[in-house]
Symmetry: C2
Subunit: 251 residues, 2 copies
C-alpha cells in the first residue's frame, strides 16, 4: 500500500491549481480526501464484505489480506478494529477476524430495530415530506432493476428506500444506526440464495407507503410499513433459520 498510498496522495497533491478562482475550494477538497491508510483499508474491506466478496464466516488472515493490499499488519489490525465495531467483522482472540455470520436472533433484532426506528421516523409526518423525492428515486431505481431482472440491484434500491425513510427523522445518529442495520442485513442476504424472492414482493408496498406519505398521512404510512416489516421478517427469519439450520428463536 506504500505505493498505492503515495500514488493516491501524489495524485491528490499534483492536481494543478485552477487558473481562475476557486483555488481555496480545491484546497478544501484535498483536505476532505485525506484519510489514513487504515481508514482506506477499512473502506475497501467494508465494500468487499457488503458486496459479498468475502462471504459470512470467511476468515480474514492478516498475512494474506495485508499482502494482498500491500499494508503492514499493524495498519491492517487498525482497519480491522474499525470494522468490528460496525459488526461486519467478528474479532476472536488468538483466532483472527471473521466476516460476521449472523444468527437468527440477530435477524430478529435487526427487524426489531427497523420496526422501532422506521415506524417512529414516519409516524409524525403530517404533510408532504421534503425527503419524498429521495424515496421516489429509490423506488424508481427498484423498478428499473426489476425490469432488467437484476435482483441484487433491486435489493440495493430497496435498502436505499429504507435508508431514506429513516432519514425523515432528520438525525445523523439514527441514519448511521440504520446504515449499520442495513449493512448487516446485506450479510444475511448473502447467505440466502434467490434474492428475487426477498426483494421483489415489496416494491409495490413501497409505492403504497410513498402515496400515504405524499398525502401527509404518517399514521397510515406507518401501518403499511409495520405490516410490511412483519411480513418481510417472517419470510426472512423462516428462510434463514432453515438455511443456517438453527432453531427459530421463541422470542
Amino acid at each position: 500500500m506504500t505505493e498505492t498510498a503515495s500514488g493516491y496522495l501524489a495524485s491528490g497533491r499534483a492536481a494543478p491549481p485552477s487558473p481562475e478562482g476557486g483555488r481555496a475550494l480545491e484546497a478544501d477538497r484535498a483536505l476532505l480526501g485525506r484519510t489514513s491508510t487504515a481508514e482506506r483499508v477499512a473502506d475497501i474491506l467494508r465494500t468487499r464484505i457488503t458486496e459479498g466478496f468475502f462471504p459470512p464466516g470467511t476468515r480474514l488472515a492478516e498475512d494474506a489480506i495485508g499482502a494482498g493490499l500491500g499494508v503492514s499488519r499493524n495498519t491492517l489490525r487498525e482497519a480491522f478494529r474499525l470494522l468490528t465495531h460496525e459488526r461486519l467483522l467478528v474479532h476472536e482472540l488468538n483466532r483472527g477476524v471473521f466476516v460476521r455470520l449472523l444468527t437468527v436472533a440477530d435477524v430478529v433484532d435487526l427487524y426489531r430495530v427497523r420496526k422501532l426506528v422506521e415506524c417512529a421516523a414516519i409516524r409524525g409526518v403530517d404533510r408532504r415530506p421534503d425527503g419524498l423525492d429521495r424515496l421516489a428515486a429509490a423506488v424508481a431505481d427498484g423498478e428499473e432493476a426489476k425490469a432488467r431482472d437484476d435482483w441484487r440491484a433491486l435489493g440495493t434500491a430497496n435498502m436505499h428506500f429504507h435508508q431514506a425513510l429513516t432519514a425523515l427523522a432528520g438525525s445523523r445518529r439514527v441514519d448511521e444506526l440504520m446504515a449499520g442495520v442495513l449493512a448487516e442485513l446485506r450479510l444475511v442476504f448473502h447467505v440466502m440464495a434467490d434474492p428475487r424472492r426477498f426483494h421483489e414482493p415489496y416494491l409495490a408496498r413501497h409505492h403504497a407507503i410513498i402515496a400515504r406519505l405524499a398525502d401527509g398521512d404518517g399514521p397510515g404510512a406507518e401501518r403499511l410499513l409495520a405490516e410490511y416489516l412483519d411480513t418481510a421478517e417472517a419470510q426472512l427469519v423462516d428462510a434463514y433459520a432453515r438455511k443456517t439450520a438453527t432453531p427459530r428463536p421463541t422470542g
Copy 2:
C-alpha cells in the same frame, strides 16, 4: 502493561480448581475474561473519559498515554480505533486523538435520537412491563443520591433510568445505541458546571412515568416522556450554547 497483562492473566489462570463439581463452569469463566490488551486499554480509557478524567477537548498523546499505561504505541492505536467509533474520541489525521467536544448540533441530535427511540420503546406498553423493577431501582438510586447531595450520582442514576426505559424495546442494538447516546451526553455534562441543575428537576418526572407504565398506560407515559425530553433539551441546549459560546442552531 506487559506485567499488568501477565499478572492479570496469571491471576486468572492460577485460580485453584474447585474440589467439587463446577470445574467446567470455572473454565468457562476464565474464557469469558480473556480479552486483548487493546480492548482492555480501550475499557480503561472509556471509563476515564466518561467519568471526566480527560475532559472534552483533551488531546491524548500516544507517547504519554502509552507510557502511563505501559503499552506500546501500536496497541494504543488499536485501542484508540475502538473508541473513535463510539464517538468518545475524535481522530484527527496527523494531529492525534482528542476527547470529543460536542457541538450544540450534536446535543440537538442526541435529543432527537432520544425522543425517537425512548418514546417508541414505551409507546406500546399495555400492561405492567417486566423491566419496571429496573426502572424503580434507578429512581431509588437517584433519590438516595439526592438525599446526600451527590448530583453526579444522581445524573448517573437518571441515565440508568433512561437506559432501562430503552431496554423495554427488547433490542440489543437499540440498547447499545442508547448506551452510546448517554455516554456522549456525559461528555456534554462534563462541560457544564452545576450538575444539580440538570438532574434534580427530573427525578419527580421519573416517578410519574413509572406510575403510567405500571398502569400499562404506554401512551400516557410517552406523553410525559416527550414533554420531559423537550424541557430537558431546551434547558441543556440553551446552557450549552452559552457555555461553548456557539450559536444555537436554528433547526
